[in-house]
Symmetry: D2
Subunit: 345 residues, 4 copies
């Protein structure tokens, strides 16, 4: 029985971890922490857990208790995460961090997050955990930095094309996100009346902190230096990332070559599904799951290729991939507890 | 390995059966039929299944093949279901029917469904399958008539109160349903532009065919003859039933007596959760699950009691309860494969 | 040119007043106040006004400036409204108050709002403004207390039936509200992820402050003392009230008698539309408008009648009715600027 | 009093025309035709019109009656529109066609619409009616071809930048549309359960028939030959177009230069609002209106510019612009009856 803790469990990623772990009999939830809801029952905050965890309570963070767990997920906001993880003895307890704190080199982090980095020595220990590309490193890691939702969608969509050198290295990424990506904290931007029947771009002009994560992630996964123009939008969905990625195929490359590159690299991957050429993915196909659905098309008039990449931001974009990584780190079947169909309708 | 077939698998209930059975290793899907999509891949119609059932194809119905399965779900429209089931050898293959064809006595059926009944001899064999109340009969049944979504929500909410004789037997039921309850067939009534930001009652004036099912179901479960006024409404949700049930407590009965009655009857039931007094359930707590969440309040000024009953119409209201019944019929753990938290957010 | 001010203009009711007044050339917006957004452009907060009011700015409240207007709308939260209105010279400036502060007798107010009343002397001056029933008093009023959204829907639905004495005086009201009814302030309860695909009752057990307003309003409009059991629910809509009202017809009363009562009383009312018997209204038919749509049905088995009443909570339930009342108070055509069709699709 | 007819009035564009014309006293609706709903009341099909047009009935099409109107809107599907318009005497009755039948040269039409053109002689008579750019021609026209929704959003967003020669002429357009853009006919693609919480691209690979319309429209409006890569997506909204247009600024061009170009060209346009630099539009700001909101940003790292263009597909993208054109053709104030704020919340 593996003992698992969740630090910062009252946010949506923490909730999704609990939801995904609920049916598992090989896992024991040792503790879930929340500074805001300490001592309160989890199901008071999240009644969706009332039937599964009727008695589970949030506790405060305590490094000693923490080290009784085999592995902890840290689902805290960036900036706070690094401080907490610095207090955990990684020789005793493995850590998967869902924040942005260990995804970038210190200098890049400090520039894009406009925040001092307070645990620089840990950055080198952290494995950037796109499970499909870093399996072996993840198995041996004591600290996994779980990738961001937008980067996961883009890196999975582009890596095979870059590795096969079928596209130029300047790409334009138009991404749509469900509102849960902005977290659970009430705000004018997340108000139902603001989101429903609405679309709006945000952080325009190349300022989103996922831009360097995408570029560095692609360099790691493909060996290629890519220039990314990235524009995120909020869409009226609770969950989901839909990235439409515009690429320029290299000379002589046809639609089927793009498609073949994706198929070749993912034919043995359970969580990445490549749809037939000219088929497009849709968000609800992956809602609640750890799957990534990919589609490809090419406009012969403009010679612009489009890669469509679709994930659940809380699934493959956060808690799902975190559990996939946990399975690797605990030497379990990588897909254990994660094989489920999208919630449609 | 139990062999399972699904007849009429291209509707939402069929899809939900496949979704819920997807992670199970003790089940083999022997066949899924669809007259409309015969020979086509299931995942072409439902891309949410593309990663799980990439090669599964719809077949046509064939009684001989059918009897190679241990159990079949019939998820056909009412009227058609009875004709198909008449062709199945129930000594070889157990059947769970999700239609309304075997839920009522023949004369009541013919009146409310305005349709001749063509398999009257099977009605007596069919066990009306609210799992919590008919466990033993279901275990021995060859034909289970799976209850309707509205009736499940109401019967679970009222049975303990009637058994304990704490309420009068005239009740008013105000129910809201998600759109998937009306099925997958395109219609003006199910058009996105009709449903979003909208509410509308339908089948008003006491004509919905679930009215006799509720009354007869309550008579079976509680021994009491109840008069039901029932008004269904469509709400802008994909899934969910929210029933607000207005009751008149008997003389001297307090709020806590109503609450106690529910708690007493459901304390050992895994799939029925009674919330604290004056807490109300919400749809998303049960989305995608087989749970029923119940709440109770009493207005002391008017002395009207309110029972709130919330299920997923495709979960406890259809495919979830069908699988719970399957587990019983196949002598498996009743909750096997069904313990999952609601998809929130 | 009538000079109009809006105090507390940054909430949804204030916004809706601006939206409805935008096309009018007979009105001059003298000022709009907001303590939160003082000095800021209105269109920074509400970009939906950017093309119409590009330069309008919020100011602070100032009694002297206030009295330069012919009429002011007060769209402040209850409790605050009464304090502000106490500072306005009603001989110079007429006031329409959209809060709950002047709708109830002082003692009833203090009990249900759990708040001291600080302007008791003004309560008697205030006319409770269901326009259809109090036209003449409204024309002469200096202070109109604009009715609440739920009460408007219920009072319009029941008054003719009570006046005609075709129903008993105990009624059950099941109401659904869009989220804008809870205001613009961010909260966990108004978060997109909480509201979408969800339904939940709230303030159950007879504690909503609109209960006495409904009962007193019905007494005023019909002369009958009515006992109301009222249960509000939040539905996934930005706007709209859908009230399903359960009534017991008096002996011998048929469905058509209920329908006739409504038709008779509203045949000359432009803003109340009675649908054919057994037709039901829907929210989107009245979205963005000042209309109330009413439907009637009767279940002959249970002899329970259902009145369906549908309004836009920001329209006939707030700003729309306020402008209808303004038209009356300024001696304009009552329907001026208010005749528009519901925003469908 | 201008007499107006609407041919094909039962679709969403026809409905929106009726909604926008409802408050006008200078217009008489002479007839509304529908082959499907002939003889039925309009408000039976669209209860949102019940309070405004309680008695208006659909008729069949009749060329003679048609010519009693001063102007008719034709809101029929493409292919059918051209046949009907061929029967109208344009010397007696002006026509605004909302279909795609007269927007393209015959050969281009036949290729992209895969349909023979049956009224080629009328194509040259038709003025492509982006009101802002073709005002004078529209005033004198007997036949206006009302632009498509996507093209309107893109042409308004790009024309000033092309005229000022601040961008290269290869552009990438990522557009999102509300579901009403696909029309009122029920389909699996428009089912509520398919659309809600979902996003999907469609007609990928450069095959959407609006591509040549955008390119030809831009050539007309700016004199420049532009290559367009266009990918449309369906979003969970009833209404709205959100186009994110990726452009390459010419050497030395800064963000403010792009912004200045837009401001300069639209400073006197009532229906096109340019937001401050780095501000982005949102759909709900223009819902129900004839406005177009434009935003601009530039990512200095990638040197990719983004133009955000937002309209209501039924407003400026169809019926709104059609009425703006009608006002021009009837020599009325261009903005008459069209100045209204977006329906927010």
């Amino acid at each position: 029985m593996n003992k698992i803790g969740i630090i910062g469990a009252s946010g949506y990623s923490g909730l999704e971890l609990l939801r995904l772990l609920a049916p598992r009999k090989d896992i024991e939830i040792s503790f879930v922490t929340s500074s805001t809801y300490k001592e309160r029952k989890v199901c008071e905050i999240y009644p969706s857990l009332a039937s599964i965890y009727p008695d589970l309570k949030f506790t405060g963070f305590d490094a000693a208790t923490c080290n009784l767990a085999d592995l902890v997920f840290v689902a805290l906001p960036h900036g706070i995460s690094m401080e907490i993880i610095g207090n955990i003895d990684l020789n005793k307890t493995k850590v998967i961090d869902l924040s942005g704190d260990f995804r970038l080199p210190a200098d890049v982090y400090e520039k894009w997050y406009e925040n001092d980095h307070k645990a620089k020595d840990l950055i080198d220990k952290a494995v950037y955990g796109i499970s499909e590309f870093e399996r072996n490193k993840i198995k041996d890691a004591v600290l996994v930095s779980n990738p961001g939702c937008y980067p996961t969608s883009v890196i999975l969509g582009l890596t095979p094309l870059l590795k096969e050198e079928v596209i130029e290295t300047e790409v334009i990424v138009n991404s749509l996100s469900g509102v849960s990506g902005a977290g659970r904290t009430p705000s004018a931007a997340a108000h139902y009346c603001q989101i429903e029947n609405n679309i709006s771009a945000y952080k325009v002009g190349g300022v989103h902190q996922h831009i360097p994560e995408i570029e560095i992630g692609l360099l790691k996964s493909s060996g290629q230096k890519v220039g990314v123009s990235f524009t995120p939008h909020l869409a009226p969905m609770a969950r989901g990332i839909y990235s439409t990625i515009y690429v320029h195929p290299k000379k002589g490359i046809m639609a089927k070559d793009l498609h073949n590159a994706l198929e070749k690299h993912y034919e043995n991957e359970i969580f990445v599904t490549v749809l037939p050429l000219n088929s497009v993915p849709q968000v609800k196909s992956v809602t609640g799951t750890n799957f990534c659905h990919l589609g490809v098309a090419l406009d012969p008039r403009s010679n612009v290729g489009t890669i469509f990449s679709c994930i659940d931001n809380l699934g493959k974009g956060a808690a799902g991939q975190a559990i996939q990584n946990m399975n690797l780190m605990l030497d379990l079947d990588e897909d254990f507890g994660l094989v489920s169909a999208g919630l449609y309708p």
